[in-house]
Point group: C2
């Protein structure tokens, strides 16, 4: 079965005439006539009744017409859909994000994405510091919203914003009465730490901050997520130095205070596999920049 023949067939059926259909198809009448006869030979039954004033569908022709139109539409739609996906006007994107960013970013990011790509299908996956690389490399997620950025040769990174580091403490802590906490006050206090970056443990923003101010904080516990960190802080296990946006997911009883003399921040980045060429990534990046930058 050739789709062209079906197209011709539909044209002739609609025009009820070979000549008229040929005109509309911008071709000569004889080859069209030949194609119709070939189609009939292929089906094995006449599809038209030839009258002296044109052609008329037989029952068999009607049965074919009913499907042929749909098949043509589907094929055309398939090509169009492929183009739309390739151009990023449509598609599916699987978005990984780290817990800390969920409350701060997603509520604004999702409407922004839907505005940019109305037909988009969104999938979400929560990432933790320890799983995020693997899920990107496995193509489990298309893009990841990370904090801090991933450092890996296969992964491309685009910084879209930054979050200042703040001190999280229980509201009953005496430090909470200060508007901004001097770094020196932290010396010796127990710290709830997040995982250090696998590749480059020395690069942790918190580690760097403490080292620079020559402050030493013993690590009371190491946890996977900011939520766990805040829980332990609330339990009096220690203090935590967290990105400001974690405040949005903080339980009652936790307060955040800026650190005096420290403008350190931690990068928020969009990460994806270098070999992912989905045009949706670019669109996603634009949306993420718009949403994250002003934070």
């Amino acid at each position: 079965m050739d789709l062209r023949r079906l197209r011709y067939f539909v044209a002739v059926a609609e025009a009820r005439s070979v000549g008229k259909a040929a005109e509309r198809l911008r071709m000569a009448q004889p080859p069209l006539s030949v194609q119709i006869r070939k189609l009939e030979a292929e089906v094995g039954a006449p599809l038209f009744r030839r009258g002296t004033r044109g052609m008329d569908l037989t029952e068999a022709g009607q049965a074919l017409l009913a499907r042929a139109g749909e098949a043509l539409a589907l094929a055309a739609d398939g090509v169009e859909a492929a183009r739309a996906v390739a151009a990023g006007r449509r598609g599916r994107i699987s978005i990984g994000y780290m817990f800390a960013l969920a409350n701060a970013v997603l509520p604004r990011l999702i409407p922004e994405l839907r505005r940019s790509i109305p037909g988009i299908e969104l999938h979400f996956a929560e990432l933790s510091a320890s799983t995020r690389e693997a899920r990107l490399l496995d193509r489990n997620v298309t893009v990841a919203l990370c904090m801090p950025a991933i450092n890996h040769p296969e992964i491309q990174v685009a910084r879209v914003g930054a979050q200042p580091l703040m001190l999280a403490m229980p509201i009953r802590s005496p430090l909470s009465r200060l508007g901004a906490v001097p770094m020196a006050k932290l010396h010796g206090r127990p710290l709830i730490a997040l995982p250090r970056p696998e590749q480059d443990p020395a690069s942790s923003a918190v580690t760097a901050l403490l080292r620079r101010h020559q402050v030493v904080m013993p690590i009371a516990s190491r946890v996977e997520t900011v939520h766990s960190a805040m829980s332990l802080v609330l339990a009096g296990e220690g203090l935590a130095i967290l990105p400001a946006c974690a405040k949005l997911g903080a339980p009652q009883g936790i307060v955040f205070r800026p650190l005096r003399d420290a403008t350190d921040s931690i990068d928020v980045a969009v990460c994806w596999r270098r070999d992912s060429h989905s045009p949706l990534i670019r669109t996603f990046l634009k949306c993420a920049e718009k949403v994250v930058a002003p934070m």
Copy 2:
């Protein structure tokens, strides 16, 4: 869009390899490779990711594949449907029947048709003596179950059975006490008559019967259908000579008696346009013969 390209595309997508797909399509690998690239050029986007171990669909390719399979199936189904219609294995038939036959024939004919052609779509139309020809000639109905047969050069007729003529009378008529009514007893009694055949008024079975027995019955009324005839009989307007099957639709208070010495019958025929070549007509004819003959 060429359906062949889509077929190739589906094959390669399923085999995840040009070589394997070429083997399954029984063609060489290079032309298949070329066709896939042409399809990609036509869509304007890569549909596969070329790896060292074969080909893998891109997102755009997945979008196309979802439609392409369906389009192929539809096109194939269309051809198959056309073949089935042409071969009479499927289709739509519009059946006209005369009132008198409805109760006697349809309840057995319909299941028989469904047995013969499971997927058949049936349309029914009631015919009267005055409309039956026009509705056949207008292709308003495909076949007509008539009694008696139509006589018209454009219409083909096949006799499928016959109905003996019987006398219909009110139960309170004195004649109803006889088991079979001698023809002579009818002489002079008023007759409720049906329309005489347009083409050949002399050929009416009832007229012929009366003439042969030299019985004269004045025509009390002329009616269109056997139902009307029976109503008038019940009203005491006269007697009617009707095909036996009319008994099945008779109201309470009407009795049918055979006519002694008269084995006259009226033909039941299937009629259709000579230029209708639907193979369903033949099937219908077979069913009608099977159902009507034993009556």
